[in-house]
Subunit: 392 residues, 2 copies
Amino acid sequence: MTNFDFYAPTYFAFGKDKENEAGKLVKRFGGSKVLIHFGGGSVVRSGLLDRVKKSLEAEAIPYIELGGVMPNPRSGLVYQGIDLCRKEGVDFILAVGGGSTIDSSKAIAAGVVYDGDFWDFYLGKPVTKALPIGTVLTIAAAGSEGSPDSVITLEDGMLKRGASGEAYRPKFSILNPALTQTLPPYQTACGITDIICHLYERYLTNTPDVETTDRMIEGLILAMITEGPKVMKNPDDYEARANIMWAGMMAHNNSCGVGRSQDWTSHNLEHELSAKYDCAHGAGLAVAMPAVFKYTMKHDVNRFAKIAVRVWGCQMDFENPETTALQGIERLKQFLISIGMPVTFAQLGAKAEDIPELAHKVLVHGDEVNDTLWGFTQMSKDDIVKIYELML
Amino acid sequence: MTNFDFYAPTYFAFGKDKENEAGKLVKRFGGSKVLIHFGGGSVVRSGLLDRVKKSLEAEAIPYIELGGVMPNPRSGLVYQGIDLCRKEGVDFILAVGGGSTIDSSKAIAAGVVYDGDFWDFYLGKPVTKALPIGTVLTIAAAGSEGSPDSVITLEDGMLKRGASGEAYRPKFSILNPALTQTLPPYQTACGITDIICHLYERYLTNTPDVETTDRMIEGLILAMITEGPKVMKNPDDYEARANIMWAGMMAHNNSCGVGRSQDWTSHNLEHELSAKYDCAHGAGLAVAMPAVFKYTMKHDVNRFAKIAVRVWGCQMDFENPETTALQGIERLKQFLISIGMPVTFAQLGAKAEDIPELAHKVLVHGDEVNDTLWGFTQMSKDDIVKIYELML
């Protein structure tokens, strides 16, 4: 294990009706004027937004509202939010929604207290200062409710990039599994896929001797394999929703990823898919993962065989571990299909002729174009093209 | 899953040489005058105490020292520490040592800012206020470095009791696995046993549908089964020490225990053993666990069969799950023996004729004597006597 620092001071209020504690928690963490940030009409229609507002009113905390966050959240609304917060003297951002809403809230939170362009953080500047953020989560997926990360799409050029920093960890997150019961099945499945990907990309490490975090990751994927199909079959299964919701947070707060190198190739390749085709992030990951894993498998066959045996229940082929490794990837793919995810370019609406452009954009970093993408393995543009071709 | 709140805002600095950051971390978390609390001479002899002092001096933070914490830390030193801190105007407690030193530090931290007797907290009063605490951990075991818990023995009557409260979570904990390399093998094994017990006592739940936390617990025990024997064979194995150290924290910060009932019977029965015979806590747990589990197994045979299959690699006997459940308990016992732990009263120096007294003390709560001990199952004094008899 490599040296690391780990600090995850987010307060989690988990369970039924917990959204009614939003006001108390904003107060506890020092908010005196709040921006409620949200997406489309579903949080309005479900009455969730009203319940959150009431809990703020009960604590006499004034608030303003900014809706309209879309999946793959855009820079335009972030700029708008920053202006609004400055004008209104907002000192706390409350995200009511999923990963996109939380990520947009984080970008606004950093932008408000920064003199330059917030996009600087998405070009690699560490986020050291931001307004405090709270969340009321409505989809178990991105893990943004407990992570120091945010992903935004810059409308000028449709580049999708991530930013990180301890100031991005929410002060509190309210996780009520019942709020996820009304999600369409496709979005539920996208969330499950995102969670599994967060776990795989931590699993694919070049750091030796990391059995404790390996076992934690394996355990969390196993829980998704059991609980995922339950909610696909019965969307009202509160208990399965609860298991997925806690797993989604644990998958990405990094307690199972500390002290080890990680691999974010699937996420990097996916970001160009959802930026270009505006597909759901989880759907893009379902297409990307099997291709990435097949391509990189030979870098460490035993690691892929290990997850195949321990997670996917494959029998170890001791004469030919590669067979086992491949079988594990195939079982992952079949699992994704079974919960209704796309696994090909065509199913996603992506086009073969765009591959050179996609591969180019993966390597674009600000004004520069890198030669190599670093992760589990080192990849050239040619490698990236070949992986996209495996998705056809 | 039941509703819960989870808040674990401890900053972890993990890895080689991290103790040199103690001064910076004390400063970050607002300490301006420090009590360094420690145990015996090993932290002096190893030079650790000097390194910690130097890091405080580098930040110009004044400190005083109080050594002498013993395993099963006593109330006498706590009272002494409280007086000392008040007299010297200490505002931060830095524990340098293992669980006993950290627990003693927590008791002092609560006592300094409380008008009454600190023992009130160990009779059930929640700890809501305490001086901030930092730790430099020297043994992976108690998990106190990341938990809101503390256990102290009251010298008057030798009662060993626990206290809890969010104010007991350390502000920071420094985890350098290299510091544990010089531990005697017996203490290392005691630590491993304590960690496994923290996991088992969370596993034994009456809450249905807790697959995510079940899988996390199973994964952490599996890691201990792999890494434990490595350090017993080669005490200098830094990597195995590192895996055990992170697992020890994760086992007890409660992220794998949220939203489910827990069982602390083994700990409760052990506390009377170490209070009376002054044995190591881990050694007492090794004697207690198999007996407790055998006695309570019938309450939920399938849960014991599940851990037997998933963790101990037993084949499921579908015609008679009890056989599998028992086999799992037997494998746990053999594992404990393999790392050098005692598993009988005699090996511990405990005596059959003391059993009625031990069983009585388990039920003593302040001035009252309870009828029942609650945990995985409900137990009378007669049940407790029978469990102690199984340890003979």
